[in-house]
Amino acid sequence: MNNALSDCTIAGPFKNAAAPFAATAFSLFYQASALGLKVIDNSDQNADGAFSFTFKAPHTKPVNCVITGWSDCAQPDAVSENIIQAACGLMSVHGRSSGTIQPLGLHYVSTVTAALALQGGIAATFGQLRGLALSDSHISMAAAALLSTSQYIADATVVAASENLPPGAGRSTAPPFVSADGVVFELETLNADPWLRFWMQLDISAALAGKGWTAFLLRYAKAVAPIPAELVSALAKLTYLDIAELCADTGMSICRVRTLEERVDNEHFKSEWLRGPWAFDFAAPHPVMPLKPASGSLPLSGLTVLESCRRIQGPLAGHSLALLGADVVRIEPPGGDPLRGMPPVSEGCSVRFDALNRLKIIREIDIKSPGGQEEIAELARHADVFLHNWAPGKAAQLNLDYDDLIRVNPALVYAYAAGWSADGGAYAQSPAMPGTDFMVQAYSGVAQKISQACGTRGGTLFTVLDVLGGIIAAQGITAALLNRQLNRTGARVTSSLLGAATLLCSDDYQNRHRFFGIATPAKSLLNQVFETEQGKIAIECCDDDTLQRLVQTLGLPADSRHKYLQQLGGLLLSKTATEWVAILQQAAVPAAVVAGNLNNLQCDSRLKPHLQPGSYTKVTSPWSFQ
């Protein structure tokens, strides 16, 4: 376990949370324990419509942290993990590749909510030490979900004329692939050349391989991958071993979809789970540690974060810190990050890019040149945080590794948002395994967990690990900043997509090892998406009381699950999803119309407080502080 915040205390009704918040409470308990916090369970202080806990550091006042379902605390609609997934568009994005809108099969929103709530408490406490009178931090599950989908919302809501994306998006034969001997696996490459070499070896024409490449690239942008059937068929004729050899020959990467048990039962991964998704390495205490007072009302205002990151995970981490008030200076190559042109574009910039980078100050620096490296070191001398997500080993090549920068600034928090491992496992050094979202889903067991819940072959094309990876990177940085103030040390904090995957499976680890003194959240008794007369409805009954209310409200037979499920499906076809949601919410049964088109999210009054219309719809900060 880490000891980043071993002098701090968190107290709340973790073991007796109301059912909708049980998964959040479990994840909070786990995350706080892994950070070294003293965790106090106050199971008598419980409320149904919210989950509250306090965060306390030495010499500060307790911060009261409140988690609600919707942003408006007075909003009476019952929530649950999957109701929020349905209402905020996660199910819709997840369902694009399979053509079936359904839950992710993970406690995803609950885990993201727990990470953001804990970060809010840490940040507010840090704000107190910097002169702010912050005593309350609030976050909602809906706000956490919207932050997770902010890039997809940007893409769906752009006002400017749509870009001419290549044809083929839609229902498809998306990865993972299956070999002749039945092994399910992911392929990955970041370049077109290995892709072409690989398929040419399988007698696929260059033109067809090219169509496959276009489809392959759509995974990240649109959560679809309409791979031509000929490519899928070609792989289905070979054994996994033959395909792996072909990958080695052509420079492609391959990873089979591993079972969760393979990781849960492994001692190395058990120790990673016990440590949590961050690895901290503290510098020697420094006699003169700068205490920068806050320059605004937000807890990180007046701090400088230097960011050299690409794509989603790292930029989202920097964005989170900017939402907490930090001045984030983003280093881009001369001419700017090419992904600024990634469609769709509005007002001269990719909206997907802008969604994660709009609050940052841009500095164009050639990091490969000695002069550029000197310039970055000079910027780091005066910064509070340095954040990168470079490939393994690149920081040392650039003379911008932890040892290089902590020498010029002993107070620096040096953060690495990695792909594979927080502590540099063997796979992290392997160029054959790029640490991308879908490879890590396959390797970690997350893909298998999703496939079991959804009846699909593999994981999700919604970039769950990039998003959660970015959130835990920012959370680890915030913890290191508070630790810096408490113990006068700079730090290295490393997080990874694999760590995010382990966090998402922390209930499976706990069920196997029973290390932490808390039960895992119970499985919902009913959790399904149904067709109605108009639109789809998601219903989730987390406990028996809720299920009984559903049965009574709809006059279903109470004696047999099979019978009531059968009747429920038919009955729901008699009214629209909106009408049913009103009836069920009146009975305090969590239900929501499934948001199919993300463009409609801004019409939901429960979500409006976190959506800012404009040339595209921006997701605002999930935190509010008082």
Partner: protein, 90 residues
Amino acid sequence: MPITVIIPTILRPLTNQQKHINLEGNQVSEIIDHMEQQYPGIKEKLVTGGNAHRFINIYVNDNDIRFQDGLATSLRDGDVLTILPAVAGG
């Protein structure tokens, strides 16, 4: 040989905001050279080291030129050349 070139939003400041340009040329490289003559500065956004830039996709009709003959890909009357910046995640 008229070829229609579809310009992505990000490059339109270089083409006086034109979304479509009609040019003559037998190969993709010729089209790019002709574009450069009319709209100086656009070639360096598309080509590096004699190849299409890694972050730029160029399609002839629906086919990515990386999987044809690259910048030497031949063109026929009425072809549509689409320029599209890359997408990425991770």
